[in-house]
């Protein structure tokens, strides 16, 4: 096994998660702005994640053919739910007092969003991105069956030629990748939380929702 395949796998995942942030962040903001849209947006993203990976990839393949683009679109759709949900939750959890203060200072809606609400919600959004990334690393295994390459191709080949070493090497590198990213991003997450705490010590109890939300998402 070469580094190339690891790199290929990682590239697919990172590209997909980046896309899902680009698409998911505005969707989360929309859901936060318009409570009526919220239900619809969350329902659609939830359904997208429910569709079996290979089925989703197969359907996309029909539209645009086999290849890396198929995998990236599929993984993007998969990663939307955590990003959208955490963006919306994070924005909602911003202390109403702070929102009120921003409005009192005469900030417009978009200005408030960009300068006040999003920065405060950022740690929770980051948690969503982390969950999306770690999930995508696992799901990207399916890429192999629609011509996207990555670590999945090693595992598939291992099963086909009945070579335990190949299967294990693919799996272990996959696990290592997931654990590394989970740990690294977890550390960043902790730091984000701590930094915020330094600014507003009285908010310490208020930071708890981050933990609760993570569990809320997973459960």
């Amino acid at each position: 096994m070469s580094w190339n395949i690891l790199w290929e796998h990682l590239l697919l995942v990172v590209a997909a998660v980046a896309c899902s942030v680009v698409v998911g962040l505005p969707l989360g903001v929309l859901a936060y702005f318009y409570p009526k849209l919220k239900k619809l947006i969350l329902f659609v993203t939830d359904v997208l994640q429910t569709i079996p990976s290979l089925a989703l990839l197969g359907m996309i393949m029909i539209l645009i053919g086999a290849g890396k683009a198929t995998v990236i679109i599929g993984l993007t759709l998969y990663s939307l739910l955590p990003v959208v949900r955490n963006t919306e939750l994070g924005l909602e959890e911003v202390d109403p007092g702070i929102k009120e203060a921003a409005r009192g200072m005469g900030m417009g809606r978009m200005y408030r969003l960009v300068r006040v609400e999003l920065p405060i919600a950022f740690p929770i959004v980051f948690t969503g991105v982390r969950i999306a990334l770690v999930n995508a690393i696992g799901t990207a295994v399916f890429a192999a069956s629609v011509g996207g390459g990555g670590l999945g191709s090693i595992i598939y080949r291992g099963i086909r030629v009945m070579n335990m070493k190949l299967i294990l090497s693919g799996t272990l590198s996959l696990m290592a990748m997931a654990v590394t990213f989970d740990t690294l991003m977890g550390l960043i997450e902790k730091r984000l939380g701590r930094k915020r705490r330094k600014i507003k010590p009285e908010q310490e109890i208020e930071r708890k929702p981050t933990e609760r939300m993570k569990k809320g998402y997973q459960s």
Partner: protein, 216 residues
């Protein structure tokens, strides 16, 4: 291929494969749910080790289902048991984790109160802790089910049928309608099972907790 041709040619095998797929999912999820519940309860009795156990569990959670199927395939060969065991193990992890988290998140005051009412630890577990943790446990069941529907597609990879059969065939002979024939029912099955479990989750949420959630 037109729709009627597909139904003529594949109607019977579609029904059969939906059945096989559902069979794999239901058996494995049932087994995985029981295992996860029992292990989760056992682990929650030793919460001291949760700092070690939880990360280990989430590491195992990152193993793709295909690996379980692949490795067992090498040992057991091309039999349904391979898929069922692999998917059961896979389905066990989310349930185990959520059972453990749900039980350890029960506020100590309730357990204390149960003790004060004269309940034995076993009674407290079954009458107080488990009902309070049940919504979280069912959340784990939902994840387990959806993942299992997704990975059961792989049963076809080792020639055991299920909806994956159409998808793999379609991909290899480049026949779009075959891919859809597998993908669309698989998606529908997953969505329906997900909605059913959502309903179940609402049903099992204790009334007091439901009200509390609303007030908050």
């Amino acid at each position: 291929m037109t729709l009627s041709k597909i139904i003529d040619g594949y109607g019977a095998s579609l029904l059969r494969n939906v059945g096989i797929h559902l069979g794999f999912v239901l058996i494995s999820v049932a087994a995985g749910f029981l295992l996860g519940l029992v292990f989760g309860i056992l682990l929650s009795r030793i919460p001291k080790y949760s700092k070690i156990i939880l990360p280990v569990l989430s590491v195992f959670n990152t193993i793709p289902g295909i690996v379980f199927i692949g490795i067992l395939f090498l040992y057991l060969g091309m039999i349904s048991l391979t898929v069922v065991i692999a998917l059961s193990i896979y389905a066990m992890f989310p349930v185990l984790k959520n059972t453990f988290v749900g039980l350890t998140n029960v506020e100590p005051q309730y357990i204390e109160a149960a003790k004060g009412c004269g309940m034995s630890p076993v009674q407290a577990l079954f009458k107080v802790e488990l009902p309070l943790a049940l919504p979280t446990v069912i959340g784990g069941l939902r994840m387990a089910t959806i993942y299992t529907v997704s990975w059961a597609v792989l049963a076809a990879m080792i020639g055991l049928g299920g909806l994956g059969e159409f998808i793999y065939q379609g991909i290899s002979i480049n026949e779009n309608s075959l891919i859809l024939l597998g993908a669309v029912p698989a998606a529908i099955v997953a969505i329906i099972l997900g909605l059913l479990i959502d309903r179940l989750q609402k049903l099992v949420t204790p009334r007091g907790v439901r009200k509390g959630a609303k007030q908050r």
